[in-house]
Amino acid sequence: MGAQLRIYRRRMRSVKATKKITKAMELISASRIVKAQQKVAASSPYANELTRAVSAVASLSSTNHPLTTASLNPKRAAVLIITADRGMAGAYSNAAIKEGDQLVALLQSRGLEVNSYLVGRKGINFYKFRNRKITASWSGFSDNPTYAHAKEVSDSLIAAFIADAQVDLNGVDELHIIYTEFKSMITQTPEAKRMLPLEVVESATTTGIMPMYEFEPNAGEVLNALLPRYIQARVFNAMLQSAASEHAARRRAMKSATDNADDLIKSLTRLANAARQAEITQEISEIVGGADALASASAGSE
């Protein structure tokens, strides 16, 4: 076998091995998207109920709660960015980080300092590599977050919000979150949302006028208990959506990698065939040439 042909065959073998890996990753991600979507759906009754309740208290009572009132002179803002732990998901993590950069620039143009809170190893590495300051970070659960994880993250955010930003370096006046919204299997978009001070998101299920609720023990206490949970539920929902988006992005990236491997194998096969054919042609012409030479040599000797 000729040298050229051997090189083509070796490259084909390695591309085929890579294709098997990307194909397997594509199938795994595809099966996990469904699970992640089910989790998003399973968490929505709680989130909807909480949203209803929070909007009821916030709109009906005249309580001035620290979590709902905007600071007159905001000094610092916290930005939570949710990224992936692992790569191989196309532009998924980078899109979220970029959205974060835009938000940070916007906040800074308003004269605010920004504290970064990161979820996911990709975001952490991005910040570390550029020597950016990370206030707090969490990793290891981006593809399968649980409520306990969301609680851990939101507790530290709420603590930062409650702390006085004017005196405490970790205290913040505003809380923003960046996550990747799972719109469909093919569309996922990074979203920036303000969580605190409260902008109550009207849930789709809210219809008609709010009933006049009685509060037990009182509106302030109810709000005290509700708001941290509302934040936790928002963070949890963002994490679940991001997880579903991560799987979808990875599936798409791996599908195009598999397709590219297919194309590569096809063109390599063509090249290998041409090399093999060229080799045969060369051998034939060598034999014919040799036979001619022999024939003319023996003709000359007679």
């Binding site: 009754p45 709680y46 109920e49 209803r52 309740a53 009821a56 409520y147 009933p211 509060f215 037990e216």
Partner: protein, 87 residues
């Protein structure tokens, strides 16, 4: 939806634990024990960690141990939300 029964849901962040129709729900809020029957006034209450019992329409009694929860009642719909709910 029946007009003679309460529609009750017990939900946690991770899933809907129980839903169905009931004749009575009793729970303990920060202010004390609370029983909810049909046509209760709209209410939002913070629950203490403890048991919520639901008397279902078929007569069975379902107890849930709720941790970090609250209750909301409006238009004969009762929602019990908890960080965890164990049957």
């Amino acid at each position: 939806m029946s007009d003679t029964l309460l529609k009750v849901e017990v939900v946690t962040p991770e899933k809907r634990v129980w839903s169905g129709e009931a004749t009575m729900v009793s729970a303990r809020t920060l202010d004390g024990d609370l029983g909810i029957l049909l046509n209760h006034t709209p209410l939002l209450g913070v629950l203490t960690d403890g048991t919520v019992s639901i008397k279902a329409s078929d007569g069975s009694v379902n107890d849930f141990v709720i941790n970090g929860g609250f209750i909301s009642v409006s238009n004969n719909r009762v929602s019990i939300l908890g960080e965890s709910a164990i049957n």
